[in-house]
């Protein structure tokens, strides 16, 4: 490395103006107009959907429905978050749905039949996920079978495994209060506010430290005003959300009080932050993108492509396990359908709607959360509309198309501007 340090150091990055909040905003508008719109289309889709449902069904904008949204979308969102890792490689995991079912079944069996304490069961379920991921990953990376086929085989085999675990179709009830609480109980309101304060503080701290460290090195750093703006946004929106969730939403407030942030919300938040850090700030994350972008280039750079693939599958299946646990908690039971029917397609759909590419190299964990929100809103809104099965399928399909269409047209406009 010393070699390089001797070379004359003449800055090449001259075109970048020192940014202020004003021209940062201008640059953002220009970026969006130029086509680099990040999460904007998904957000737009969400806003449109919410508007339509709110207009059609006033109960859509009640505190209780807002809280329901989180618990209803949690399992799919968690599975989608894991899928992002596999999709980033340009691979697919069709078995994630039933893998979550297997893990949920392991949870249920160890909890009820074996009578283990809840934390042991949770660990067992997640370990099952890790094991499944290792198996799938090894078959894809080491043996070289296309992931579609491997996970299609997994789709079948895990379906069988769930059946074996739940005794050929019985329905195992989960009565452990801790597990049931995950998807069905809420934080006490004060804890919600504490959590909110901690989040805001950490976010502001990280942003400030980063800017300061870059400025010290003479690199282009975000100006104070921009940071303040971002923190301000967080303060307002997160504050509103916590406030809404802390409203009384019980039907019989005198009988029982129902308030607070659902427990799944901090669960999703923590996982979102952790996986985002892994993807954006660790070498592993960098290598994941590299393999997805150009596997051959990654190999030539000495990246252990096989190992990266295996890890990605492990993460995917472990997140499926987490999703399975939440699903089991929500239904307070596990049956052979857990993780079945449309769970997988919805999860992949969530990731893709959020902006993750099926061809690898492009996507963020946040995408999965945004896409999961779109899917949850559709399901929630459709539930309120009370259509029959056939109309519901038709409308859900159309709404999905619409949400994705907003996104596609925005990107198309951008492509026409020359950016692809």
């Amino acid at each position: 490395m010393n070699k390089v340090e001797e070379l004359p150091s003449e800055a090449i990055v001259t075109a970048t103006q020192s940014p202020s909040i004003g021209n940062s905003f201008l640059a953002y508008v220009q970026r969006v107009r130029g086509g680099d719109m990040g999460a904007l289309p998904a957000v737009l889709g969400l806003v449109v959907l919410c508007g339509v449902f709110a207009a059609a069904r006033p109960s859509f904008v009640t505190a209780i429905n807002f809280a329901n949204l989180f618990t209803q979308g949690a399992a799919i969102t968690l599975i989608a978050m894991g899928l992002v890792f596999v999709l980033l490689l340009g691979e697919i995991d069709l078995s994630a749905g039933f893998a979550s079912g297997v893990c949920a079944a392991v949870l249920a069996v160890t909890l009820t039949s074996a009578g283990l304490p809840w934390y042991v069961s949770v660990v067992a379920a997640i370990l099952t996920g890790v094991l499944i991921g290792m198996m799938l990953g090894a078959l894809v990376a080491k043996v070289g079978i296309p992931s579609f086929v491997v996970t299609l085989a997994g789709f079948l085999a895990f379906q069988g495994l769930v059946l074996v675990l739940v005794d050929e179709g019985t329905n195992i009830s989960i009565r452990n209060s801790v597990i049931v609480a995950i998807a069905n109980r809420n934080l006490p309101p004060w804890l919600g506010w504490v959590l909110y304060a901690v989040c805001v503080a950490i976010f502001a701290g990280v942003q400030l430290r980063r800017a300061r460290s870059r400025a010290k090195r003479g690199l282009v750093a975000d100006p104070m005003s921009l940071i303040a703006f971002r923190v301000g946004l967080l303060v307002v929106f997160a504050g509103l959300a916590v406030f809404a969730l802390n409203l009384e939403r019980s039907r019989n407030p005198e009988l029982v009080s129902l308030t607070g942030v659902p427990i799944v919300v901090p669960v999703i938040l923590v996982l979102l932050v952790v996986w985002t850090l892994v993807l954006r700030r660790t070498a592993f994350g960098r290598h994941l993108y590299a393999v997805g972008g150009n596997a051959e280039a990654a190999r030539r750079a000495g990246i252990p492509v096989d190992r990266i693939k295996i890890y990605a599958f492990v993460i995917c299946s472990s997140m499926a396990a987490v999703g399975g646990i939440v699903a089991a908690s929500r239904a307070s039971s596990v049956d052979p359908n857990t993780g079945g029917s449309s769970v997988l397609l919805y999860a992949v759909g969530a990731a893709v709607i959020g902006g993750t590419s099926l061809f690898g190299g492009k996507g963020r964990v946040l995408d999965a959360v945004m896409g999961g929100a779109v899917v949850a809103v559709i399901e929630n809104g459709m539930g309120l509309m009370g259509y029959g099965a056939s109309v519901k399928y038709l409308v859900t399909g159309s709404v999905l198309l619409l949400a994705a269409g907003v996104d596609a047209l925005a990107r198309k406009r951008a492509a026409a501007a020359g950016l692809r």
């Binding site: 490395m1 010393n2 070699k3 390089v4 340090e5 070379l7 004359p8 150091s9 003449e10 800055a11 090449i12 990055v13 075109a15 970048t16 460290s213 870059r214 090195r217 003479g218 690199l219 850090l277 700030r281 660790t282 070498a283 960098r286 290598h287 993108y289 590299a290 997805g292 972008g293 150009n294 051959e296 280039a297 990654a298 190999r299 030539r300 750079a301 000495g302 990246i303 252990p304 190299g361 492009k362």
Partner: protein
Amino acid sequence: MTPLLEVRGIDKSFGPVKVLHRVELSAYAGEVTALVGDNGAGKSTLVKCVGGIYPIDDGEILFDGRPVQVHSPRDAGELGIEIVYQDLALCDNLDIVQNMFLGRERRRGPMLDEDSMEELAERTLSSLSVRTVKSIRQQVSSLSGGQRQTVAIAKAVLWNSKVVILDEPTAALGVAQTAQVLELVRRLADTGLAVVLISHNLNDVFAVSDRIAALYLGRMAAQVKTADVTHAQVVELITSGRSGDLGLKNGVTP
């Protein structure tokens, strides 16, 4: 003097097509060895064999006199062999800095040390006379042909390697950039590295190389000191495999 890198009797076929026939090549520390040959002669294939991209059918690779096994690019990297491939192999979805440090990211604890990488990348690139790159946080997919090539070269010279192999590094470069790269090549050799340079431009070859190895239809026609041959002789070696006493006799290596 033992060569730092030596390949002996390398054979390589793609299915029924034999591309390399018992090829020999030596690269010495402190010297620039030019590898020349017609289109399709097998230069890039030879380099890829050395880099662990292709497995070899027969023959051996010696590093510093010891026989070594190079089964993957990782092995080559660990030996200290750094290669700029002709088909550049950059990750289009990553930016310039990310590409330059790919596989050897700097860390602070478990996290990446983005800032120090950005700083170092900027310095390396500017030393290669790239003036038109708007930002080193630009995705490489948006770079011009020459800019991409520069990034690939910068990536390879960023490391403390012992052997640097450059497969047509100046093909897409402008006049000034070409001069810079040739100067860099010479400088690398002078600091004690073994450099292998593949080029179709004989002026460049004569300007910087100490030795010339000429490949003809997958066979090594001759490996000579640059000082001992003329321009015309090298052209003859490239196009017909021999020149006077030099080169292949009846299609086999002497």
